[in-house]
Structures are given as structure tokens and as C-alpha cells.
Symmetry: C2
Subunit: 396 residues, 2 copies
């Protein structure tokens, strides 16, 4: 089969999976109409997809007259698996889920990064653990997505991860080799920025509000955005879109770790909040610490979270007017602090007023702390479901 | 012919035009390869496109052996016309150009808007003048694009034009009727926001740097962005993307006409600059006035333009980090003031430093004062060249 025919077949197969995912219960005849493919082609491809664990066919319970009852198709959640890993600033997390986003395995370890090779090796060992569990459960792992705390260029190079000090690392081959050495064989690997992973958790596995366009804001040590537009990730001309934490919200304001003044991160990040609480640059208080101090009635923490919440709200407003996404999702560790989130939502409402400038909805992440790993796993499915987009990107 | 077949044919015809536009000098055989269409289909469609004035065929001057010399195809610039109109805050402009963006006719009148109906009538009368000229020159006008100084929803409703006081006007039928009454018959009409028009002037007729992704910043009475991503206009979930003038750059800052505080427009707009010069809200100095005062050595104007330039540069930086477009284009009346533009460019360079956050190019508009009308005309071609995108948007 020539390369073109192979691609065409993959496009048609995945179009069928996308249709069944969007509308469970379709019959083969519906798929022929929806895809424009011949009935016989649909039958062959559906048969393959059932054999490979993507779809299942059940006899409809409905009765439509005297004829044979038709088979309805749904996504098979029992035989395939997606693996995700998240290289956090001070942790590594892995997860496995089925192709509907139901979590089957998670593991998270606190971690202090040194050289990138060691972190890659330890991440791969954790991925191997998740993979082994899936294989033991008789599931086929389709690949692994790896979320990174920094800027990932279109070719998979980690351009800069400021909070762990890595720069210009070709992550994909490094991970592929470490995965082989961990016994994962030729597991396909996809690297992406952590905020883009968060965005994919919502886009691939989230509700219908997140399918067309959304901005996922991941706030924690830093703050970044994952952007989905026109039903796909918007990565930017070099893959660096979404670095909103280094947009300037306060000209001449506080000095940022990036060297500029007045970046959003100087107001919305664990370091910014800690500095407001302690009046010192160090230590950076953990989200757990901030949460428990708040529960104990610590007024300094409450003030700091309200101030950060106002700035988070301003940034959400700025994204709504500039990008006009259907929804903005607040995620990342800081989004677990209700006072911060509530203040941000209130700020957005106040700024919206009765103006027609935007009507975008704002809400918190559906997957909470797991958004990063689940989204990394989702990236594997997103790549497989859009083979053409992938070939096009590779050809650029 | 069924609707589906008609759409398919339009898609194939326009694919051919797009290929010839991108690579003048193609032969029929190249088009068959590029489109995947049969040689006979290509021949039929090319014949039609030549008959209708889209393409011209010339015998190649090259000699490739003993055989018949092949015909090379180029865009025919002599027989079709695109019309554009721009409803400015204090003027109406119209233009006609050929399908390569070469301007054939322009007309601009100072104008004081009152009711929207009168403005639509007067705009239509000017369009009729441009159309009559094209007909006299034996060109077929394909349609008219109309740029509006406000927010245009996906269905063509003008949601709000703050500087002329219009709100919730269904512009398309209003314009269509006025054009009929002006003797234009059933001229297809497309309405769009003025900054989006500017973006299309670059995207459709500009250089190769503007084909994939760009942000066009139009600054004058207000400031707005037209965004092109993944080779098409990014309009947002409701059509309201690009309202960057009402993003907040200075929390708690100056009061904006929209009621909020610290919007970009309070720092970068004719009103903001005039206020810095005169220390009064009125009058708003024209760009010509600002330019001639600057030439006469007016230090207050120089200071005001430098201050506005810094804020314009900050906004460009924020767009670069958030969206990562291939290029940001500075347009609108204020972009004629060199000191403002130079200060903005210097600010962007300073903020970029040696960081990998963005490498987007920044430059001024290719069409200068005509970007709005030329872009409005370009929108007609953009709609025709992408029939599928248009059907899909209409079906939403």
C-alpha cells in the first residue's frame, strides 16, 4: 500500500472513531452517510476497528419492524490504553486511562530535578510501571504523552523550562531511548507543554462546551495557557503560543524571573503569593500550606489570594477579549484554592458588565490535579484521531 | 446539479485558483498532481476559469524538446474586480481592486455619522460609483466587502460600534437593500470588523510572511486586532476576537470610554495621545495635526507619541507571547506616525531580549492608509476562495 493510501485509510478509520465518539450508538449506515464512504468500505473499516479494540458492536434493543435488528456502535473502553506523564517542577506524575478518559492508574512522586537525563530516566521508569500494569490488565498501550514545564517547539525541542533550568533539549529521542531501556519497546511518544496538556484533557475528554475553542490556564509555579481553536491545538508559529505568564500586566511593575518587569507571573504564581504572605522571596509556600493557613484564618494568605485572584481575573478578561474562546478553564495547582478562583470569577463578571465584548464561560478544570497527566495521555489520542493534521505538521 | 456537487465543484475550482495564485506559471498537468483531480476534470475547470476571467493561459516561452509547447497559467488581472468599503469613525472610503490586490479606484469622503441608515445609504452610493467605474472598464465586480468600526458577530450583526454609537444592527440585509437601491443589483456583500479587514489585506494580497498566521493591529480612534491563524481568519466563538483595545494593561488605571479602567485604549488611541498633549478630553487631534505639530518640533507631541509607542510595544509583546503569530503588522491611521511606530518596535525588541519566548517579526502595513478598504475587498476573494469554510460557517 502506498503512503498516500495508508494515510487515506488512517483518515477514514479515525473519522469513523471520531463520529462514534461524538455520537455513541451510530449504526454502519449512519457512518456511510456521515463520512461519504461506501457501505462496503465502512463495513471493512468497522470490522478492523472492532478487532483492534477501538469499537464495540451491540445488537440494538430497539425494534424497527420485522427485519434484522441493526448493530449499534460504541467506543470500546476495555482493550486500549493511553499513557500520560507529567514532569512537574517538583514532582513526576504518570497515569493510564482508557480512550474515553477514564483513569485506570495514577502514580505521583515528589521529585527534585537535576540533569535532564536523570529526570527522563526516572520518568520513563514510572511510565514503564503504568505500561506494565496495562499489559497485565490485557490492554494495549497506544503511546505516551509527556507534559513538560516549559516551552516546547513544534519539533519537540524543549526550548526553555525556566523553573528546572533546562534549555534546548531534544526531548523526543531522549525519551524514546529511555523508554526502550525501561522495557517499553517502541512506544510512540509525544511531548507537549503542560498547559497544552491541560487544554487537551478538556478538549479530548471534556464536555461539549470544550470541543470547539477553549483556553486552559494552568497556574502554579508559573502560569501558562493551552489554547484550542477551530477544534485543534493552537501551538503558534513556533509552538510557543500560550506563554501568557510573561505578558505584561503592570508596566514598570515587579521584576520577574525572566528579567522583565510587570509580567503576570509576578502577580499570579506560588512565588508571587508567597512573597505577599511572607514578604520574602523564599521559601515558596506550597499550595497545601497556603490552603491550610487559609483554613486556620490567616488574613495575610486571604489578602494575597484575593490580590492574585484579581490579577488572574484581569488576565482571563484579556484572553476573552483578544481570543473570544467558547470557554476559559482554570487549572493547575493554584486552581484548588477556592478563594483565588472565586475572586478571579468575580473579577471577570465585574469587567464583563453588560458589555458585548465577550460572553465566554469561565470554569474550573474537569480533571482537577490530574488534568496534566490525563491531558498528556489525551495527546496520544488527539494525534491518532487527526492523522492528517499530524502529517501536515511533520511536513512543515 | 445537487447542492453537494455544486459545492464540490466550487471547492475544486477555487483550489485551482489558489494554486495558480500561489505559484503563477503552473501547467494543467501540475494542477492535476496538486489537486488529485483527473486531467480531464482539470481541463474542464481551467477552461471555465479562463472564460470567466479568473485565469489566463499563455504559451510557454521555454522549449522542452520537439513537442507542443505547454500552456502556463497565471491569474488574469484584467477582467474581474473586487469592491471594498470602509465605514470609518469620521470618513467613508471605497476602493476597487483586481484579484491580485492592485488598486484600480479609490475614493474617500469626510463624514459625520448620525443614523446608521443614512450612513449605509451614503456608503452604498459610493460603492455604486466604484462599481459603475468597473463596469465601464469592462470588469465584472464579484462582490463588496464592508469594514465597520466595531464588533461584528458571526452572523454579520454589528454588535457595537462605540465611536459612532450604533448597537445591534443587522448590517448585511441593510446594506444589500441599499446597494440594490443604488443600482448595484444583487451584488454579494460581506461585512467585517475593520481590523479583520486590515488582516485580510495582508493575508490575501501580502507577502509570503503573512499567509500562515498574523496579527494586524489597527490603531486610530480605537485599537483592535485582526487575527489570521492556521491560514484563515480567527473570528472567535462569537466573532468578537481581537478586541485587544479593551484588554487591561494598567489595573486601576485611567477610565476608558467602555467604563473599565486601564484598558489599552486609554494609552494607545488618538484620544489618549491628544489628552497627553492638551491635558483635555476634547478636541481629539487628528493624525495629520499630530504629524505636523511633531514636524514643527512640538515636544509635548513627541513625549505623548513615545509614551503611546511604549504601550503599543507592550501590547505587541503580549500578543507575541500569547498567540505566537509569524508576524505582527502595525496599521491604522496612527501607524503613519513614525515616532510612535519606532518606539513600539524598540520596546518589542527590548522586551524580547535574548529570551526564546517569541521571535515573531513586527512591521508596518503593506497597504498603509488603504489597508482597510483593500482588506474589505480582499474579504470578497477570501470568501470565494474558501467555499467550504464559508458553507461550514453558515451551517453553524
Amino acid at each position: 500500500m502506498s503512503g498516500d493510501q495508508g494515510l487515506l485509510k488512517r483518515i477514514n478509520r479515525m473519522a469513523i472513531v471520531r463520529h462514534v465518539k461524538a455520537s455513541p450508538g451510530l449504526e454502519r449506515g449512519n457512518l456511510a452517510e456521515l463520512t461519504g464512504l461506501a457501505d462496503s468500505t465502512v463495513s471493512v473499516l468497522v470490522r478492523e476497528l472492532i478487532d483492534e479494540g477501538w469499537l464495540r458492536a451491540d445488537t440494538s434493543s430497539g425494534n424497527r419492524g420485522a427485519g434484522r435488528r441493526p448493530q449499534v456502535l460504541t467506543i470500546d473502553t476495555t482493550r486500549l490504553a493511553l499513557l500520560g506523564a507529567e514532569v512537574g517542577v517538583d514532582y513526576i506524575a504518570v497515569a493510564a486511562c482508557n480512550i474515553q478518559g477514564e483513569i485506570l492508574f495514577t502514580r505521583m512522586v515528589d521529585y527534585r530535578h537535576e540533569g535532564v537525563e536523570r529526570s527522563v530516566r526516572d520518568t520513563s521508569a514510572l511510565v514503564a510501571e503504568a505500561r506494565a500494569q496495562m499489559v497485565a490488565d490485557e490492554r494495549l498501550p497506544l503511546g505516551v504523552g509527556v507534559g513538560l514545564p516549559g516551552m516546547v517547539a513544534l519539533d519537540g525541542t524543549l526550548r526553555l523550562a525556566p523553573n528546572v533550568g533546562w534549555r534546548d533539549v531534544a526531548m523526543t529521542p531522549l525519551l524514546a531511548e529511555a523508554l526502550r531501556e525501561s522495557g517499553c519497546g517502541e512506544l510512540p511518544v509525544f511531548v507537549l507543554n503542560d498547559a497544552n496538556a491541560g487544554a487537551l484533557s478538556e478538549h479530548v475528554f471534556g464536555g461539549p462546551d470544550a470541543t470547539r475553542s477553549l483556553v486552559f490556564l494552568s497556574s502554579g509555579q508559573g502560569i501558562g495557557a493551552g489554547i484550542i481553536l477551530d477544534s485543534g491545538p493552537h501551538l503558534g508559529s513556533e509552538g510557543l503560543a500560550g506563554e501568557v505568564g510573561h505578558g505584561i500586566i503592570e508596566p514598570g511593575g515587579l521584576r520577574c524571573s525572566c528579567g522583565r518587569q510587570g509580567c503576570v507571573e509576578t502577580r499570579v504564581s506560588q512565588r508571587a503569593i508567597s512573597r505577599m504572605v511572607t514578604e520574602h522571596d523564599e521559601p515558596v509556600l506550597s499550595v497545601e500550606e497556603l490552603g491550610s493557613r487559609l483554613e486556620r484564618g490567616d488574613e495575610a494568605v486571604a489578602r494575597a489570594l484575593r490580590a492574585a485572584g484579581v490579577h488572574l481575573g484581569l488576565m482571563v478578561h484579556n484572553l476573552l477579549v483578544a481570543v473570544d474562546p467558547a470557554v476559559v478553564v482554570l487549572g493547575g495547582p493554584l486552581s484548588r484554592l477556592g478563594l483565588l478562583v472565586d475572586t478571579a470569577l468575580e473579577t471577570v463578571r465585574r469587567l464583563a458588565g453588560d458589555s458585548p465584548y465577550h460572553h465566554g464561560a469561565v470554569r474550573t478544570s474537569r480533571f482537577g490535579v490530574n488534568a496534566g497527566v490525563v491531558g498528556a495521555a489525551a495527546s496520544v489520542l488527539d494525534h491518532l484521531l487527526h492523522p492528517f493534521a499530524r502529517e501536515a505538521a511533520a511536513a512543515r
